[in-house]
Symmetry: C2
Subunit: 186 residues, 2 copies
């Protein structure tokens, strides 16, 4: 359900096409909400039926037509209600098949396990780099677009993502050490 409000929230900043919404999700919301492009188009259609957004076709010369979505007053109201009303339970559902495999690690073999955890670590380090790119572009784009006030909140979410990723890397390091010493034992 929150995909809907993520879209509405972004449309509060400015009108956008489905494609642009997808790109914006990828750069600014990827560390808190993953979506597939196909989901965005479906949700936009639904929201149009419910009069939360409207769309305008813009004809461009030499380029494809653009279908630009705007938020309606009704949509704005729905968004504001959502954002202010936090659920009782604030814990995000977890579904991590990597760590589930680790749980059943007996079957994997120590050598293989070591390899996969090292790979995991590298991926997390990659995420850290992506995050610093996102952080930089957050600063630039919010100044450009006159959204300095939003930058504060964006930065809070980036801080949180960074901390999570660093925790993963630390865990990986410790786990690699534990497995190496276990290997030594046998």
């Amino acid at each position: 359900m929150s995909l809907r409000y993520g879209l509405l929230g972004l449309l509060c900043y400015q009108r956008m096409t489905g494609y642009e919404l997808n790109k914006t999700f990828e750069t600014s919301l990827q560390f808190m909400w993953n979506v597939k492009a196909s989901q965005i188009y479906r949700e936009l259609l639904k929201m149009q039926h419910e009069k939360l957004v409207t769309s305008q076709i813009e004809i461009q010369d030499k380029k494809f037509d653009r279908k630009v979505y705007s938020i309606t007053p009704l949509g704005k109201k729905a968004f504001e209600e959502w954002v202010k009303k936090f659920p009782q339970d604030l814990l995000a559902p977890i579904r991590d098949e990597f760590i589930m495999r680790i749980f059943f690690g007996e079957t994997i073999g120590l050598e293989n396990l070591l390899f996969e955890i090292q790979r995991f670590k590298k991926q997390q380090e990659g995420e850290l780099e992506i995050l610093s790119v996102v952080e930089k572009s957050a600063k630039e784009s919010s100044i450009e677009d006159g959204l300095e006030e939003s930058l504060f909140y964006w930065t809070l979410t980036i801080n949180r993502a960074r901390k999570s990723i660093i925790a993963e890397i630390e865990w990986a390091n410790e786990t690699i050490a534990l497995i190496k010493s276990k290997k030594g034992e046998s």
Copy 2:
């Protein structure tokens, strides 16, 4: 798809009813995979059709009949293939509507935001307590059931959960400080 393999993995340890599988998910896998009981029953039914598990009705005097599921050799094979074949992308999908609200924090107001982040912190501290209970019972139950070897891997996943939760609490502390100083500015 991993719910299926979680169930198969648990059935490798011992035969269980749907209810027991649900309980076991809650105690040992809750920090990596959230499920609803209704999902478990549906998946068990599907797996029975695919001959990955079988079920036996056990009649108890004075109590309800138990429907006990066992893994088949085919199920064991499917599980082992899954556990050994890590996907290319090891990053778990994230869907966190709490932090998404923080992203759109402008609309919320600093006072309210502060309240919600403090509440978030308390919930994470509660999770930490649950985790230490889980850790304790992990040690006890694996000794009872002769699963000392599995305990090592279980502990790895508990370590990871603990690190994540501590990172959340640290973030909450820093964020509370940031918001307080922002409040002071205005």
